[in-house]
Amino acid sequence: MPISGVVITTRPEDLDQTQRFLAACVGVEVHGADDQGNIVAVFDTRTTGEMEHLLKTVNACPLVLHAGITYLNMEDVVDDEGLNSGTFR
């Protein structure tokens, strides 16, 4: 169950439409955007294969100019046990 931090770039005029497209993609959470067309998103998928697929789907969208990853956590790929069991405050 990997998690990625991703910046998706679109033309500023396509921002709303791109956010609507992303909202419809399972596994994508949009956390914020700016008026230059940068959308900050988190990809949360069951497997790294799904992560790759999701990234391809987003990249293939004609509104999307680029999707750049900044962070990938794959600790549960190494140890799938108890990922959600720990509570942090």
Binding site: V7, T9, L65, H66, L72
Partner: protein
């Protein structure tokens, strides 16, 4: 409110992404401080492409758990691509080579043997070949993916120890034309500018590069520049429309091999419309022509390009470009406040690769689009250490460490003195380049070869021809690698190597930037760093050949532990003794300095103090490049001190349009071009073992223009036989408005016997750079069936 670990990870991911683009999120950074992370983050460089993205590998309990980009690294500002995000999976992969494997005959099965025995066999084979057939019967074939320390040590043992310059590497297949182009035009290898110019450029001229897929993180910077400044012009010149074209103001789609006409026509427009920079030409430029570089004049150059009218070039280029297009892009190029050209294999992998490089440089020299912010003639590098290791540290048969030509006695003597070996020890003749090395194997001239971290059995053009020689028992073949490959199938001895982050060393990326990656993970099984392997081998060679000079080559490194002290000592020797006063002066770039820098140092950097500023962002400019000041000969602000031009001028070359080696005819009516796909790295020995990347592109395919497909009755997914005078592949078709009509495009990563496109490509090469023409050959294509399920294939 209670927060699950998953929430925490998502927040970390979101904040990391937001921080790179300055987006404020309604999340609190402080929340992150509560994480119970028994983590260590190890800074290093991406293992894959020549962009050199800086990243951190997160380790917990000795196991990698995360990767993140380094926000203040000037290579990538925190961004990584998906391919780069996956390379960690090669660490500890279950198919890693873990023990030395040996077989006396190539038809025998491999047996596991000890390192002691393996090194003994390797030394005996090389020593016997040298005794019986002379030093030039052995060869080392390296890689732009080896660390600098590895390339340097192997070439030292070969040249100073075994007395042969038969040292070459796979950058011959990708960057040799760029080297020839830079030396011929600027007198010095490697770009003048930096990635930092991307954010200052007002016009991008991207030719022969699908930057979006091959260098995705740099593409992001170009795209961002264009989006933030819509007036910035992006010109994309390529026979194929690609992802890169998405942001282009103008795509110039030309017939393969006609770009020399296009470039000369742009020069013609610039001169006709008086857009050239006369003051720059007067102060800094000479004109050259012919093989020997005879002097020419501006008037002769103007006369030379005059027949390349936009109308004539548009016709030569195949009719998809208009004369007005050419005029328009020439004006954009010449008049912008800063024009940056970017190119890659579409220009380099050509019979006229050096000329094509020269003609791009011509445009920059002619217009003075150089040396100022946002202006540069910038060759993109494919591999992570083609520049740092192979081009700079002696990994090509004709170049000694520190950009020293082999054939110059003074240069050889400097190296011999630095190594403490007798003068005259290094042979005066350049060794065999890649194509002659593998021809030499076919001809029985090479009796033992060491292939390090590369797979020529798949990556050489017309590979069937060269694999015949590799398959015989006439040439003892050693491979150092982390996985089995098409080349290890021809090996006698396979030595398991440590992978990135399992060893320590430096990579030098496209922009002259050197970056250190330290060991963070234990290599699996008995895999060892190549520097250890080379040293231990040389020790045995010295004994078997009873030659104290070989022992002298490794004496400074004796007894050092291999994870840090050994590569550090090698780096110190190379930088301190062999780059002093050279254009790649690295004396300030110690491991200690590199460890302090987020993103390494750009050479020249002669002192530590200067290296700690980040080094030289723009070569040859006084006040920016310390060597431009120390080497200054006059009051002019730019000083071209490179080793190849004694007149210290930039040279504009009179180079005509010349056809590729093979052009389509009635029998082979299509052009074939080949390239890289975003998910895979080279021969996919790494990326093919990463399930998500393999699934994304499990096999190669061939792209065909819809008009050609219709004429031939080819539908999407149909199986196509693609045949040249050299070999055949059977690949599924992607019918796609990508390649220009009359051209098909295939990907070269697939290892499956019927889908290895280098069986089809042509092995003719540039006469000066010796780089083969992978990008253009003639083929015929035939539909053989409808779609068929295909099984991915990786050598096991």
């Amino acid at each position: 409110m209670a927060q699950t670990r998953r929430d925490f990870l998502k927040m970390t991911a979101a904040l990391s992404a937001a921080s790179f683009v300055g987006v404020q999120l309604p999340l609190q950074e402080q929340q992150l401080a509560h994480a119970k992370d028994a983590e260590a983050w190890h800074r290093g460089t991406c293992r894959l492409c020549g962009v050199g993205c800086r990243l951190e590998l997160g380790m917990k309990d000795g196991v990698p758990f995360a990767l993140r980009g380094v926000a203040d690294a000037r290579t990538n500002y925190g961004f990584l691509c998906m391919k780069g995000m996956h390379f960690w999976q090669c660490l500890g992969h279950k198919e890693r080579l873990k023990k030395p494997l040996y077989r006396a005959k190539k038809s025998d099965p491999f047996k596991e043997i000890s390192w002691d025995k393996a090194l003994d066999i390797a030394a005996s084979q090389f020593a016997d070949a040298v005794k019986k057939n002379g030093p030039n019967s052995v060869a080392y074939y390296g890689s732009g993916q080896c660390l600098t320390e590895e390339t340097y040590l192997f070439q030292k043992i070969m040249r100073g120890g075994l007395q042969t310059n038969n040292v070459d590497g796979n950058p011959r297949l990708c960057m040799a034309s760029a080297v020839g182009g830079y030396l011929g035009s600027f007198g010095a290898d490697e770009p003048i500018g930096s990635y930092a110019d991307l954010e200052k450029a007002h016009c991008f001229f991207i030719i022969g590069s699908n930057t979006a897929e091959a260098h995705p993180v740099l593409f992001r910077r170009i795209m961002r520049r264009k989006l933030d400044n819509p007036e910035v012009k992006v010109i994309n010149a390529d026979p194929r429309v690609s992802q890169t074209s998405r942001i282009a103001d103008k795509h110039l789609q030309f017939k393969p091999g006609t770009d020399l006409s296009l470039l000369n026509a742009m020069a013609n427009v610039i001169i006709e419309e008086k857009l050239h920079d006369q003051a720059f030409l007067t102060n800094y430029v000479a004109f050259k022509q012919g093989k020997e570089g005879q002097d020419a004049s501006f008037e002769e150059y103007a006369k030379f390009v005059a027949p390349y009218t936009p109308e004539a070039a548009a016709k030569t280029c195949g009719g998809k470009i208009t004369a007005e297009d050419i005029r328009q892009v020439a004006r954009w190029f010449a008049t912008s406040k800063g024009t940056m050209s970017l190119w890659c294999m579409g220009i380099n992998q050509r019979k006229q690769g050096v000329w094509a490089n020269n003609l791009i440089h011509n445009l920059h020299i002619l217009t003075g689009q150089l040396l100022k912010e946002g202006a540069d003639s910038f060759s993109l590098t494919g591999q992570p250490n083609a520049c740092g290791g192979v081009r700079e540290a002696g990994g090509l048969c004709h170049i000694l460490p520190g950009h020293r030509p082999v054939e110059k006695e003074k240069m050889r003597n400097q190296v011999e003195e630095a190594w403490g070996v007798p003068l005259g020890r290094i042979p005066a003749e350049p060794g065999m380049h890649t194509m002659s090395m593998f021809t030499g194997i076919n001809e029985g001239k090479i009796k033992a070869i060491w292939i390090n971290c590369t797979s020529p059995a798949q990556s050489l053009p017309n590979c069937n021809l060269y694999n015949k020689g590799l398959a015989t028992d006439d040439c003892f073949t050693i491979c150092t690698d982390i996985f089995k490959t098409r080349t290890t199938e021809f090996a006698n001895l396979i030595l398991p190597a440590a992978f990135h982050f399992e060893k320590t060393g430096v990579y030098g990326c496209t922009e002259r930037r050197q970056q250190l990656t330290r060991k963070a993970v234990k290599a699996p099984g008995e895999a060892k760093p190549e520097v250890w392997i080379a040293r231990e081998w040389a020790k045995r060679l010295a004994a078997k050949l009873n030659d104290p000079v070989i022992a002298q080559c490794i004496k400074p490194f004796e007894g050092l532990e291999e994870d840090f002290a050994l590569p550090q000592a090698i780096w110190d020797e190379y930088t301190q003794k062999l780059t002093k006063g050279r254009d790649n002066d690295l004396r300030g770039v110690s491991y200690a300095v590199l460890a302090r820098m987020a993103d390494g140092v750009q050479w020249p950097a002669p002192t530590e103090e200067f290296a700690l500023t980040g080094g030289t962002a723009k070569k040859f400019v006084k006040g920016i490049d310390p060597m431009a000041d120390s080497e200054s000969k006059n009051d002019l602000p730019y000083q071209f001190y490179g080793p190849a031009h004694e007149d210290r001028k930039l040279w504009i070359w009179l180079r005509p349009q010349a056809d590729p080696s093979e052009i389509p005819d009635a029998e082979y009516p299509f052009y074939l071009s080949t390239g890289r796909i975003i998910d895979h790295w080279h021969t996919m020995s790494m990326t093919g073992r990463i399930p998500e990347l393999l699934r994304a592109n499990p096999h190669a395919f061939v792209e065909i223009n819809p008009k050609d497909a219709e004429k031939l009755g080819i539908k999407p997914g149909d199986m196509i036989e693609i045949t040249s005078r050299r070999g055949t592949n059977v690949l599924p078709a992607k019918v796609y408005e990508g390649p220009i009509e009359g051209t098909v495009f295939a990907y070269w990563h697939d290892q499956e016997a019927n889908r290895m496109i280098n069986k089809v490509t042509k092995d003719d090469y540039d006469p000066s750079a010796k780089e083969p023409e992978f990008k253009i050959c003639a083929v015929k294509i035939k539909r053989i069936s409808g779609p068929k399920p295909l099984t991915p294939f990786i050598v096991s």
